[in-house]
Amino acid sequence: MSGYANLARLDLAYREDRRIRVRDGVELYYETRGEGTPITLLNAFFLPSPSWRVFTEELAGSYRVVGYDLCNHGKSSHVGPEPTWEEHAADLIALLDGLEIESTHLIAASTSTILARDVALRHPDRVRGVVLAGPVFGPRGMRRQRQVQRAWLRTLESHGIAGLYEHMYPEVFSAEMNEAIGTPGFLGFREAFSALSTVDDLVNGLNRAMEDVGDPAVLAGVERPALVVVGDDDFLMGPTAARELAALFPHGRAEIMPKAGHVPFVDDAEGFQAIVRKFFEEVDARA
């Protein structure tokens, strides 16, 4: 089944109401599927936990897949100022503690690749392998990403969520997907996107994402194996930069997905999961 067929089955409903208290006044919404070695999904600010389901179904057949909403996003507690990346990382560790998960693979996409990188740096004992899909930090920094997010923020403030969607859509999603699902897809998913988040959540998230400096030097400190997955139609990072980025990790490599965009599993969920499974199997075999 193509990624676009998966997209057509996208179900953004919250089916469960499971929460774990991770610090004073903060409960995180989470959902788990499957049994086995844990995989934890880290949300980009635009994609709350339900949006991962149709893109991780095969993995849930043989892994314990955990999704959750970051503090101040989705169904998790909203507590005023956007948490720092350090707080988001501490929240994740507390969530793992609450779920009695000793160590987990991480899959991150777009802005959440910052969080995955930081958790792998600060808590290597809790991390097995790290998948960075569409990283927002490049081999020379992340000035381009900050410029993009500043432009998105301006659009959000002046034209609301629908305007932001129209700004982001041709950048984030591949030309292949744009042609495949056409205008009905563009309009229909605008409705879904508009229901996912509030303006405040997105403003806070974009501002937080822009605060990371994306220093490439820190990647040398990531001890855990890292896989950079980039679509060759990713507007932020091309295949050459992806390979250069992967080479900065002590145990990093890159996989390039043909015709995929910034969120490559949207274009080819089965292909993405096959790449991820192979990587995780290699990591677990070496452990």
Binding site: D11, A13, T183, E191
Partner: protein, 84 residues
């Protein structure tokens, strides 16, 4: 002669009934209620938009405002505006 608004709404209801395999769900959706709040998934909405192109003989434009997609009533209003 342009369709009446009631007729267009009825035809949109018919398309929704086809998508949901019967009238039971559609009967719970009033003309003015938000389709999203009524429980119409993003997949179903995309399918409805595609079906409307065939049913009414037009193609959606990317610049259609979100308000036009909110309900059976607003969808019918969009169809009628194209027929004027």
């Amino acid at each position: 002669m342009p369709d009446s608004e009631a007729a267009v709404r009825k035809r949109i209801r018919g398309l929704l009934a086809q998508l949901y395999g019967g009238d039971s769900f559609v009967e719970t959706v009033s003309d003015g209620i938000s389709l999203r709040q009524a429980g119409v998934s993003s997949h179903a909405l995309v399918a409805l938009l595609v079906a409307m192109e065939d049913e009414f003989g037009f193609e959606w434009d990317d610049d259609v405002r979100p308000e036009a997609l909110r309900s059976i009533e607003s969808l019918a209003g969009h169809v009628l505006s194209l027929q004027e």
